[in-house]
């Protein structure tokens, strides 16, 4: 079964450093998402991406965050200057078309900011 692949599975970074979280969505999917889950809390929407541009972003997705689809397969989330409160699980997700309600999620990247 097709999978969404995320790397790395765990990243530790110093506060103030830049991190890039990488995702390879399912190959024929057109809609891409980033969500995050702070430990013990709900899964929060960050951003949606379609046709090489951001469709929607949440209030969490401030100027420190950016997304990119640099080639036909990768979808990246960059955090420019990490803060302690950015420590969370970051999930990438994708879906094929607008009529699909359920996404396929990757297994996540655990980001720890120290």
């Amino acid at each position: 079964e097709p999978e969404v692949t995320q790397t790395p599975s765990h990243q530790v970074t110093q506060m103030g450093q830049e991190v890039i979280l990488r995702c390879v969505p399912i190959s024929n999917h057109l809609y891409f998402y980033w969500y995050r889950q702070i430990l013990g809390q709900k899964v929060d929407f960050l951003v949606s991406f379609y046709n090489n541009e951001i469709s929607e972003k949440s209030e969490i997705f401030d100027d420190q965050f950016s997304v990119e689809r640099p080639d036909g397969s990768n979808f990246t989330l960059k955090i420019r200057s990490t803060k302690l409160e950015d420590s969370a699980m970051y999930f990438c997700a994708s879906k094929w078309r607008t009529g699909d309600y359920g996404y396929t999620f990757g297994s996540g990247t655990r980001l720890t900011v120290v």
Binding site: V4, D44, F45, E56, G102, T104, F105, S107, G108
Partner: protein, 110 residues
């Protein structure tokens, strides 16, 4: 402002019995609801969904019930199995994104 709420953080059930997980929502404009299951160190996986025009959807051991007047949905698992032990997230679909509840951790004991 939490639009999707799961008020029970955990639930423990005996193997073979029914598990009932509950979810409440505040926005009557939601038109589609989903349940996701999440194991530790994995991403959420889609389990079952229901359109707001229905009141029940069944898939094997899993049934989702929707009560629009009460803005409440529930997931029934019967019979429960130890492999069902996981965190279950209720989610509502709005404008292309999913809005999740806090999750309920289900533990099914042999």
């Amino acid at each position: 402002d939490q639009q999707v709420k799961q008020n029970s953080p955990s639930l423990s059930v005996q193997e073979g019995r029914i598990s009932i997980l509950n979810c409440d929502y505040t926005n009557s404009m939601f038109d589609y609801f989903l349940w996701y299951k999440k194991y530790p160190a994995e991403g959420p996986t889609f389990l079952i969904s229901i359109s707001s025009i229905k009141d029940k959807n069944e898939d094997g051991r899993f049934t989702v019930f929707l009560n629009k007047s009460a803005k409440h949905l529930s997931l029934h698992i019967v019979p429960s199995q130890p492999g069902d032990s996981a965190v279950y997230f209720c989610a509502a679909y709005q404008g292309g994104k999913l809005i999740f509840g806090q999750g309920t951790e289900l533990s099914v004991k042999p």
